[in-house]
């Protein structure tokens, strides 16, 4: 037992008297059981939203970008807002699985699988927007470095939009591979438990014939560590490059050097909020409260509080620098942002992102499940408005006062946005029923050090 020592002051990460076999049974239960009415209701709603969005996308492609609310002054609006929002949400998964792995945070193990699933599904949503915004989707291959025979010129490697193509595709593919490698032992567990031949076949296929040899585990752990080391700068680079889309332009309100760290903090902020939204429901519905404990939610709330405060500092720094720069265009852009016709969006952003996370200083509030759930939703509304404020308020009053205008979305803009939310939940709900939603192999490896029963036995010996 001595090799599994952990300081008694650390709270247990696995609640109750669990054995290795109990973990297997608990993780396999949602996959092996039947879906209840609640799941089917949620899935139907998500599917309908997805189909509506699909219709809106087809209408856009068939008719043209003119069906959106864009005009000649505001050429980027909901589409890019949604793109940045989804990419931002997609940052929590890799942060949890990679950064917390490097810092040896054991609480990552209960939540990393679902957080990474969320990452992949939300990056998929994000990727849709630039593609459909091209208008002529059939020319989407123009973003790839292809020779002139394809009707393209070589891509322009000076363009931040092209950096984005490389950053997002690297991020999506590396996250997918990281996720799948971690899934192999857990798929193998489902495969070895499966009774129905069809399930056995599917899970053998997905588990790549994983057997759990000592050498395989040694490589597995090394690969996980190196992937974490690679994914950590990668995740920071992705939102940095997304912010370059704005920061390298010459639009007042966009052209600021604070954007990269500010966007990364905002991404982590919204991503953790989305993890909280999803896991608070999942732990209840799938009976995983012993593995995704109140402590996990509390720790995520602390991350939300810190990153929310960083974002708040960035908002204030932006205002200060605009004033301090002495550039009147810059000053006007920020004055207009806060007090112009979009003041309500600015106020919403400030109160959701800067004010609401401050409640988490209170231990009572950050350990309340209901309150955490509400704040997690509020934060994601706020982060959507942050991107809307940055994008639309910087554009709608441009250099020529005669072209000043407002943006109003059409039903197609709204349809596509709601559609991606539907698509995201379709994927996540399917995942929750067919994948091992907890990295059970990893959780088993910390059972003796961080399981409640084992901690009690050990701490009892000391007294």
């Amino acid at each position: 037992m001595s090799s599994h020592y952990e300081a008694p002051i650390r709270r247990p990460l696995i609640i109750g008297d669990k054995s290795y076999h109990d973990i297997t049974v608990d993780v396999a239960a949602p996959v092996e059981g039947k879906a209840n009415k609640l799941w089917w209701t949620a899935f139907t709603i998500a599917l309908l939203a997805f189909l509506w969005g699909l219709g809106a996308i087809i209408y856009t492609i068939g008719t043209g970008i003119g069906v959106w609310g864009l005009n000649k002054t505001v050429g980027w609006a909901w589409d890019i807002t949604n793109f940045v929002w989804w990419v931002g949400i997609g940052h929590a998964g890799t942060l949890i699985s990679a950064v917390l792995l490097l810092f040896r945070q054991k609480w990552r193990m209960g939540i990393n699988r679902s957080a990474e699933a969320m990452t992949i599904f939300s990056v998929v949503q994000a990727g849709l927007f630039p593609v459909i915004h091209m208008g002529r989707v059939w020319n989407a291959h123009f973003v790839l470095p292809l020779p002139n025979q394809f009707g393209t010129l070589w891509t322009n490697f000076n363009s931040p939009l092209l950096w984005d193509v490389f950053a997002i595709s690297t991020y999506l593919s590396v996250s997918l591979v990281f996720w799948w490698t971690g899934l192999l032992p857990d798929f193998a567990m489902l495969r070895d438990r499966a009774i129905k031949p069809f399930q056995k076949k599917i899970y053998s296929l997905l588990s790549f014939g994983w057997t759990g040899r000592a050498k395989d585990w040694q490589r597995f752990e090394e690969v996980s560590l190196v992937l974490a080391g690679l994914a950590t700068p990668l995740v920071l680079s992705v939102h940095t490059i997304v912010s370059f889309d704005f920061a390298t332009s010459v639009i007042p309100g966009w052209h600021t050097t604070i954007f990269p760290p500010y966007f990364v903090a905002g991404a982590v902020f919204s991503g953790f909020a989305m993890v909280n939204t999803l896991l608070i429901i999942m732990r209840k519905v799938s009976n995983l409260e012993a593995y995704i404990t109140e402590q996990h939610i509390e720790l995520m709330n602390i991350v939300i509080m810190i990153t929310g405060s960083i974002v708040g500092c960035a908002y204030i720094t932006e205002l200060f620098i605009a004033w301090y720069s002495g550039v009147e265009y810059e000053q006007y852009a920020f004055l207009n942002r806060a007090t112009g016709p979009y003041w309500w969006a600015y106020l919403l952003m400030m109160s959701c992102n800067v004010f609401s996370p401050q409640f988490m200083w209170s231990k009572k509030l950050r350990t309340s499940i209901t309150f955490s759930f509400i704040i997690s939703i509020v934060v994601n509304i706020g982060m959507w408005f942050e991107r809307f404020v940055i994008i639309v308020t910087s554009l709608h009053r441009d250099y020529l006062p005669s072209s000043w205008t407002m943006f109003s979305p059409t039903f197609v803009d709204i349809g596509i946005y709601v559609g991606t939310i539907g698509f995201f939940f379709v994927l996540f709900l399917l995942y929750a029923r067919t994948f091992p939603v907890i990295a059970q192999a990893e959780v088993k490896s910390i059972l003796k050090s961080s399981g409640e029963k084992f901690k009690q036995l050990r701490d009892g010996n000391h007294e």
């Binding site: 490697f157 032992p185 070895d192 438990r193 790549f208 040694q218």
Partner: protein, 175 residues
């Protein structure tokens, strides 16, 4: 020499570790150990060499970086130089700051994917690969140690029985 192995099954990782040490001490050859989760220190106790997969990742990363530099130099500077926004592409050095993001991305892309492909190939993992664990419980809560039979089979079995095993089986080697 016989192709026989003894498969001793354990239900606890600490008992397994002690057993592995005892078997090594008695100079028996451990063919393989199957575990449901990574048991820390098992590779050292078995005498496995460290993995060199991290070194391959570094080399793949260097390849990715070199590829990115070559690609952007060829496309932007050599093959079709353009003057975009008053910033002409006639010199790699002068344009290189704009190339840094893609150099970084391709370094990570090559290192991550090629390392994982190497891992899958070395550990023989791919879709449609048939699993070879001796017992389905080894992905749940059981640990199996395979010891090669070299000499007296009964003596080895009785030796292993004393190491805390819960089940023991003598089979032909499976490959």
């Amino acid at each position: 020499m016989s192709n026989k192995v003894v498969q001793a099954m354990y239900n606890d990782d600490d008992i397994l570790m002690d057993a592995v040490k005892a078997v090594r001490e008695a100079n028996h050859h451990i063919e393989e150990v199957y575990t449901p989760f990574p048991v820390h220190g098992l590779d050292k106790a078995m005498g496995l060499k460290g993995t060199r997969i991290a070194i391959t990742a570094f080399m793949y990363g260097c390849v990715g970086l070199a590829f990115a530099i070559w690609m952007m130099n060829y496309m932007m500077i050599q093959d079709w130089p353009q003057d975009i926004g008053g910033k002409p592409s006639f010199s790699f050095a002068a344009n290189s700051p704009a190339f840094v993001p893609i150099m970084f991305e391709l370094t990570v892309f090559f290192a991550a994917h090629l390392m994982v492909i190497t891992f899958y190939m070395r550990s023989k993992l791919w879709p449609f690969k048939k699993a070879e664990n001796p017992d389905p419980r080894t992905t749940d809560d059981m640990f199996v140690m395979e010891v090669a039979v070299d000499g007296d089979e009964n003596e080895l079995v009785s030796f292993l029985e004393k190491t805390g095993t819960v089940e023991i089986k003598v089979t032909e080697k499976h490959y």
